[in-house]
Symmetry: C2
Subunit: 202 residues, 2 copies
DNA sequence: TGGTTTAGTTATCAATCGATTACTTAGAGA
DNA sequence: TCTCTAAGTAATCGATTGATAACTAAACCA
């Protein structure tokens, strides 16, 4: 009688997706350089060399992570756009779609880490392209004016920053943190708090 | 006859400041983990062990960098506050003071890198404290309403992001980048472009 | 059922990096 | 001018980490 759980294998595409999910949170927490392939492997439940083999390099893994994140974000925006007969205004639907991305804690954060690495030749290029892709979507598909897009993006960057700062943890202790969060997440505070409460431990 | 330049020594406080300046740009470009003490040393013109000896650890060096950056930012805000008989509105003076911090390219960027490392125990704590210090200054000293502070900070985080993305480099090539930057830096575009043009090479 | 593909692992290496130790010397003061 | 403090360097080490190589075995298929 063996105590080990019988080894079941996945299709590599399925395993890739699991690793991408794990890597999203690891990169979100530690950044591109700070995160290790061993951490990602442990979070995904596979060996470290297998992570490298599936993605080639750590850099490629990070690129896949941020492209997946951008895809999910654009998809969510498109979903908000498709709710044509909603009684909620479009801008508010899009903001809600953005906030909803917090259900995977590292998703917006790994993007944010990419956004501040513009000097890295490969990552910087991908980050700029991704950011401008979002800009164009909001302008061309959502029909925003450039100034409206800029304000929307600004709110998004502040949200990313506050998530990166792990501000929600001090919500109860610092009344100023509470005040700021109540401004930054109007009507969506409890949603944000519940989403960031049950994030996965690394 | 020796070809070597005669070695002149500085007082350690003076050398500290030189290293902090160099470290600000290095951390701004590569982030906390990505930057190396050897890079900082080379940029400052000293040996790598001396950087470590002056600051104890790389983490302490980073903390000193972001605290110096926050000090400079608050000082600039205070300066804008003190121009009581200006014909420019206070909010615009503060925004200009913020943009002016770009004359040291890594200053806002090293802060931004700290802001997305909230999970790091020591750095995260310092980053949250610094961010909230800015919040309180704008609310209590500048007299902003919480919502006004939030919008001001959001614009700031978008600026940090665009600087981190190195967007200015594509200003001439991508008309959408130009459009976005003209929104994000109204009336201050040429200032921003000139400041980010002559940044120091790493 | 037997063979081949493919999902995975263990072991290990080379490079990088922060830190320590031991040493050297410029320069201020008596 | 002598001396001692403080500014700085060269050499090196141990730990970490991304990547590679060699191997194992599950699962699909003819």
């Amino acid at each position: 009688m063996s105590l080990e759980t019988p080894v079941t294998r996945m299709k590599s595409d399925e395993r890739r997706e699991l690793i991408l999910q794990a890597a999203t949170d690891v990169f979100g927490a530690s950044g591109y350089v700070g995160a290790t392939t061993a951490e990602v492997a442990r979070a995904a439940g596979v060996s470290q060399p297998y992570v490298v083999r599936l993605f080639g390099t750590k850099e490629q893994l990070f690129l896949d992570v941020i492209n997946r994140a951008l895809g999910k974000l654009i998809d969510a925006f498109q979903g908000a756009l498709d709710e044509v007969d909603s009684d909620i205004a479009l801008e508010k639907r899009l903001a809600l779609a953005y906030i909803n991305q917090l259900n995977q804690h590292g998703l917006l954060l790994s993007l944010m880490h990419a956004f501040v690495l513009g000097r890295e030749p490969v990552i910087g290029h991908a980050a700029r392209a991704g950011f401008m892709q979002v800009y164009r979507f909001l302008r061309d598909d959502a029909g925003f004016e450039p100034l409206q897009v800029q304000e929307f993006l600004a709110q998004g960057m502040l949200i990313n920053t506050m998530i990166g700062l792990d501000m929600a943890d001090e919500f109860d202790d610092d009344p100023d943190v509470r005040e700021l969060m109540e401004c930054a997440f109007p009507e969506k505070l409890d949603l944000v708090r519940s989403l960031s409460a049950d994030r996965v431990a690394l």
